[in-house]
Symmetry: C2
Subunit: 418 residues, 2 copies
């Protein structure tokens, strides 16, 4: 029997485009990591007839079905009733689920209404999947060819139920899949694709890519059938990773679950260095990226968003003469911003960033997308410049990642660049 | 005949969850604005058999089908061939499409290969939909009950083809839909839902909601059949909007296509005021939101991200005594930050923000999620505090929007709050 998985997301707000469905991609990623093949996503509104048809079709066609949405307290939350109808069984109120959801609601100081109690109704015979972070439990039933799993639509709750109750079940009997992730920056996906052509066949692995703003995540999958084979799969993945590291070289900045911002904070921490920023065209985005990470404050002191020239002179101490002679977007001003931020904020390392994010403000000599970066690090003052393509938001995001990537390179390979 | 629309997005990267499908939501939104009913989204990988089955099912079930992906130059781009196969017609190379795509590629300094030429192959009898921004044109064919439209998967290209060639076609004969959007902040969706219950029936309109980080967009749809009815539909929508404004009051901050950051910049500009920021727990996110908008520099001078206490004292001039007596997260320090930012950056208006984004750093007296805001505006210094629920990223985003919303309220209703 061919094992394939499908995902059915339900909700009128999804099918009307009021909300982008993030659950399907999340579930697919996790299922693929667990060794399953996902071949179909489907989204329908809160409609009994559409649900019935999709449920019949997908459980006939696939061996695993994951359904999100329709488990809430309101009248358009109809999933349990629809499933009971399809199975030809009654809805049964589960006393344990009822007790848990009542105590969850009461602990938050709310009253329990009949619409809440409805969330403890399940098709007779269903196995309940507890919700560790919300009121609506999930459940699972077998139907036609498939095991069908049902989750609330709230991503956080769906993910919590999946990780605590579903992933452990699925692992039993699934192919074990070895996965390794390499994170690269600055090389286009098509180039990586071409450069790594042949490695899949050579090592008996599958490669996957995920691109966002000049960052490409390269995933190496190797599947195993039994314990002995797990070791061989790990060996195949390892050999592929070695080849990829040789081929992509310094474009790989890290391996595993991390980010450029986390790696920068880690590298600073390891060296006992504290960072300050002076941002112009990125407008606070580098700062935001670093402070997204909890605990950034031990190595990130802060920054100055010097959008107006007066802020460059008064707060960062950039000389008026530099601004008038070279313009705000120049190597000289980027350097003075970095030095100013380092001194005024009392940091060890600083970055200065000035450029033209667009769409206006460009000229022949200084086109939209041109950004100057300066890195003040010990007695070194490194200037880099780069022209980024794309619209304003993209220029800003790419410049932010470029700044973090180059700082990471300078910290981890002190002999490089200038 | 019931008119319903479906969207089929194709691409192995989508079904594997390597990329979140944004096209379905975009197309649904536009179709609903044009007066159509979308009842199903489907996503499949690059697989001929899956495509064939989905194409047959969806064109039998719906009167409009929109398909994205599979029109590129590589071997896994198979949409045209699959459609030709389903229709039982040959693929035909279109000379005009070939000429255009060759000149597009040559103008960018690349060579034209056979894989590119393949993009000028269409099922015999298809109507070609020119691509104003890329190489792959779209096309449309009638099949079974449906008119089926095919687009490249790149959102920018799909959107350009939709707007230039498809929307004008669809408008002919479609119901005209009047839509108005109201933007609210700070009221939960369930509350708005309850508060506006009954308005749909009263005014003959449909209400739609879109929530993100404490912002709820309320859409009022009224459909019309002919020219006379457009005016009546507009009148119904207008009457509903009047009622909604009465019911939701100050929670509505604007109408139409705008954002909190744009409204803040607009309000500052209208009053000739320049803004500075002092951000601690939001770490640059307020600054980033404002500088996301092109042209922010005329009224937004910049800000200081004072993550470390030394930055609060050295750069913003917050007295050490305030920090030691009240702690960094206190009304006193928020006020001193706002006053310091206004003075040091030479602004007219300033916001100071200090709080505990979490997950660490909370205590009984100062729990995670607590944020103090101070607004320095003329001779007024307004303090507000708020406790936000949710994880770190959510606390930061909600605090950012709260700061912008409150500044907007102070600017537009100077008599309010304190």
């Amino acid at each position: 029997m061919v094992t394939t998985a499908a995902i059915l997301t339900t909700g009128t707000e999804l099918v009307r485009g009021e909300l982008v469905d993030q659950n399907s991609a999340w579930l697919s990623s996790r299922l693929i990591e667990l060794g399953f093949v996902v071949t179909e996503h489907r989204t329908i509104g809160d409609d009994d007839e559409d649900f019935h048809r999709a449920f019949l079709e997908l459980t006939a066609r696939h061996t695993l079905l994951f359904v999100t949405g329709g488990l809430g307290p309101t009248t358009d939350d109809r999933t349990s009733a629809c499933v009971a109808h399809a199975l030809g069984v009654p809805l049964v109120r589960d006393p344990e689920a009822l007790r848990q959801l009542e105590s969850f609601i009461l602990s938050r100081g709310f009253q329990v209404g009949e619409s809440n109690r409805k969330q403890a109704d399940f098709p007779a015979g269903a196995t309940i999947l507890p919700n560790p972070v919300g009121t609506a439990p999930g459940f699972t039933v077998p139907f036609q060819r498939a095991s069908a799993y049902f989750f609330p639509g709230v991503p956080r709750e769906m993910q919590a139920i999946f990780e605590t109750s579903v992933a452990p079940r699925l692992k039993v009997g699934a192919r074990t899949l070895v996965m390794r992730k390499l994170r690269t920056f600055g090389v286009p996906e098509s180039h990586i694709n071409d450069a790594l052509a042949g490695l899949e066949v050579k090592h008996g692995v599958v490669l996957g890519y995920r691109a966002s703003d000049a960052e490409i995540e390269v995933k190496v999958f190797a599947s195993a059938i039994d314990d002995e084979d797990v070791r061989r799969a790990e060996e195949r993945a390892r050999a592929a990773v070695v080849d990829i590291k040789v081929i992509l070289g310094r474009a790989i900045y890290a391996e595993g679950e991390t980010s450029l911002a986390e790696e920068v904070l880690f590298a600073l921490r390891a060296r006992g260095l504290r960072l300050a920023l002076a941002e112009s065209c990125t407008g606070g985005l580098v700062s935001t990226s670093l402070t997204d990470i909890a605990g950034a404050s031990d190595v990130f002191l802060g920054g100055v968003v010097s959008y107006g020239n007066s802020v460059k002179t008064h707060v960062l101490g950039v000389a008026e003469k530099l601004l008038s002679e070279h313009g705000a977007v120049s190597p000289e001003v980027a350097k003075a911003m970095a030095l100013g931020a380092r001194e005024k904020l009392g940091a060890d390392v600083a970055i200065g960033i000035t450029g033209i994010a667009g769409p206006g403000g460009g000229s022949d000599g200084k086109p939209v997308g041109l950004v100057h970066f300066a890195f003040a690090l010990g007695d070194r003052l490194v200037h880099l410049e780069r022209r980024f393509n794309g619209e304003r938001a993209l220029v800003r995001r790419r410049a932010t990642k470029y700044a973090l990537f180059q700082l990471l390179s300078l910290l981890t390979n002190p002999s490089l660049s200038e």
